[in-house]
Symmetry: C2
Subunit: 461 residues, 2 copies
């Protein structure tokens, strides 16, 4: 820590530059199975001006810079591959201003999804993107997160209106405006959303909000097979019914949930659906969905309009991940994340379930089926070389399958360290275009080197 | 036409390379008040491979290349500023494949909006983005078009899933997939949408479709003033009512429509609204909208559920542009296009109307008020130096006003030649980032030089 760049950072930040071993270790781990090296220091800026000063110093001294939100990434986005500085946005976690008439809020990147919605509660508004984890909004934008409500409200792509970004050389730019749309040049907001901290550090976000629905109606029902469940989803979408959520659980997931929560759902594929709107609207939508599901052989319908009944119904989905983990105590979990056109979803899920079953590894599947996005949770013994190899093989075959069916290797978890090996296969020459954009905006290659594109330009100091 | 680059193009395209004076003149004019030079030749490719070969030749010979769809741009996007080659996509106008289950269609860029919807009619699906003009889909993507339905269905940003693009050096890339969402790297689809032909030529588009609504309900009503109309829109959005269209006409627009179509609408600001959904849903939405509008002093409500009644109601809006032009026969029209946060819309429209009134130039205002986007149609005598200067001054003050109110100088018409002078003011250092992206993807500066960013790198052959 006597290198001149870090000395300049210490002068800038004082005690808010940490080199405590515990702090470095914390910023070298994540919720996923992925591990990497440690940062050499962690910065806790409090203002955009400080972030800009940090980047100016790091650019001058060629120090790698990795952004950190809440550490909930599943693909190792925030893990430094080349040491350097981790910029932790925990102290930049405020709501800057709220415009209820525009249904827009401006926030700092470190605020979490749950903290934002808590602050919004009294306004009748909420931020709809819900990836499950209590992620930071900066991290959610950087990884283009989505989740159960994307089928209705969109992903971060649709819900970030404008950004403030500190570039690799310390310049500060604003992308987009608070107006609902614009046609003035390249969509830099969309370029930074999903760029995983490789093009700049997000220091402010302007987000679209939604009105809390007056009425919510939810249901769960069972299907004879995967095709029947998926065909119900396709028919529902085509009928124009605006589902707020539509989640799929396969038989193995249902078994896990039953065992974990003491439930008695029939051991069949299930759909869980939710409608948001007016009382008459949600009642009509619920009835129509019931008809469509019945046409596809659904059974065991349970409807819920009261909040406590909905909580009971959705508990199965909310607790699915711990329930799955409990299928094999002590195991590690690799959570896959492909997304395909919905017409290919039944085939993709069925082939994947068959592939997993043949491997002997437990791998329950659930999905945000309205988007064609599903996750297999592969439970393996990390101490077993053969099981570790097996899950990598399964995951690779799943990625190949998604691409063969016209889909993508990541619906919502992003690239990070876990998926960079598939970028060439998915994007072809487009990956070289990404590298050209990266080189144009970060010629020194100091921003999260090794993510999205290979770290060709970067050499550690 | 004896330069080696054009000889190579002639060898490639034969009679589909035109240098006929009438053809060149046609590709040097547009629907707007803007004029520029002529291309030296016009190419009519029929395949992506031909477009790639064209770009390879033009890159080698440093020939400027401008894309051409249907010529309906209002800002001169498709007018060549540096001569060179215009690539006219008229012959690449097919539907390539339709996936009704995925509600997705893959098309060539030259197909027009109306031709696409005609082809889709039997499927129960439609493409919702409606900029008014019968634009080509390639042009709509390149300019990030929107229109009356964006408040419900989004702009081209939300409705283009994937692209095939020929880059400046002739490489062909595919961006995005047919899956509904993806988190795999930079959002190149969003980067090319709105890039106005400066980063690549779009040769294929994968578009999201919508189901034709089972029921449509429409209404028109009058308000005592602009604020009452805008506050009705704000309250309607906040209540969660999913308007398919919500259009504003100011008093001057209503006068124009009355005179042109022999109608007798009260000479007051009006809103025209449309709901799409189920019969019960649209009935409920219509009733709720009526209550909200009444709370804000609306009068003269006319509802229409039958198609012929809707056509009658919407005729006023559909014919607004010719009606406005008829206010001053022989005049030229400059159509402005700012967009602001909706909370600032009443102020923006009122200040603009006052500014126009003080100038003595007729300038009726209408707008896609659900998006905060409005257009003033400034009717001036193009032979009058002073009137021409006046409309430029009005337009400049309107752009400044939009930026001061947190908005954008173009909601949907794009930059082209008309708005490039405001780019620095709107984007600041972000404009330099756009220039860096342009230089990375088109280092020779041959793609539509002078649009979006200054044509620093380009020198004509």
């Amino acid at each position: 820590m006597t290198m001149p760049g870090f000395e300049a950072l210490r002068d800038l930040l004082g005690k808010r530059l940490s080199t405590a071993p515990g702090d470095l270790a914390l910023h070298g781990q994540s919720e996923s199975h992925i591990t990497a090296g440690l940062p050499q220091a962690v910065a806790y800026p409090e203002t955009t001006a400080e972030v800009a000063a940090i980047m100016t110093i790091c650019a001058r001294h060629k120090i790698a810079v990795t952004g950190w939100g809440a550490g909930t990434s599943l693909e190792g986005h925030a893990l430094p591959l080349h040491g350097g500085l981790t910029v932790d946005f925990t102290r930049m976690n405020r709501v800057l201003d709220l415009h209820p008439e525009d249904m827009v809020v401006r926030v700092q990147p470190g605020i979490t999804r749950e903290a934002l919605n808590t602050e919004l509660r009294a306004t009748g508004l909420f931020f709809p993107v819900d990836p499950g984890a209590n992620a930071s909004l900066g991290g959610m934008a950087a990884t283009r997160a989505s989740g159960t409500t994307a089928v209705r409200y969109g992903t971060m792509r649709q819900n970030v209106l404008a950004l403030e970004v500190v570039l690799a050389d310390g310049r500060v730019i604003r992308t987009g405006t608070a107006a609902p749309k614009s046609s003035t040049g390249y969509d830099l907001t969309a370029l930074f959303v999903g760029s995983e901290g490789t093009l700049g550090l997000i220091t402010e976000l302007t987000l679209r909000l939604q009105g809390q629905p007056e009425s919510v109606s939810a249901a769960v029902c069972a299907f004879p097979d995967i095709e029947a469940a998926v065909n119900t989803v396709i028919a529902t979408i085509q009928s124009g019914l605006p589902m707020a959520r539509i989640e799929f659980l396969d038989t193995q997931s249902v078994r896990a949930v039953n065992a974990h929560a003491g439930l008695h759902m029939p051991e069949q594929p299930h759909l869980m659906v939710e409608f948001h709107g007016t009382p008459a609207g949600t009642a009509e939508q619920a009835a129509r969905f019931g008809d469509i599901a019945a046409d596809h052989g659904s059974t065991g319908f349970q409807w819920a309009d009261r909040p406590e009944d909905r909580t009971r119904l959705w508990r199965a989905r909310h607790n699915a991940y711990p329930a799955m983990r409990a299928l094999r105590p002590g195991s590690a979990a690799l959570v896959t994340d492909v997304c395909v056109p919905i017409s290919r979803l039944a085939q993709a899920v069925t082939e994947t379930a068959d592939d997993i079953a043949a491997s002997g590894i437990p791998g329950p599947i659930l999905g945000h089926v309205g988007d064609g996005n599903f996750h297999a949770t592969l439970l393996y013994d990390p101490a077993s070389v053969s099981e570790t190899a097996t899950v990598k093989t399964l995951s690779g075959r799943l990625a190949d399958r998604a691409l063969r069916l016209g889909g993508t290797v990541s619906g919502e978890h992003g690239i990070g360290m876990g998926k960079i090996g598939y970028m060439q296969a998915e994007h072809g020459e487009g990956w070289a275009v990404m590298a050209a954009v990266k080189a144009a905006l970060d010629p020194g290659g100091i921003l999260n080197p090794g993510k999205i594109v290979p770290a060709t330009a970067f050499s550690a100091p």
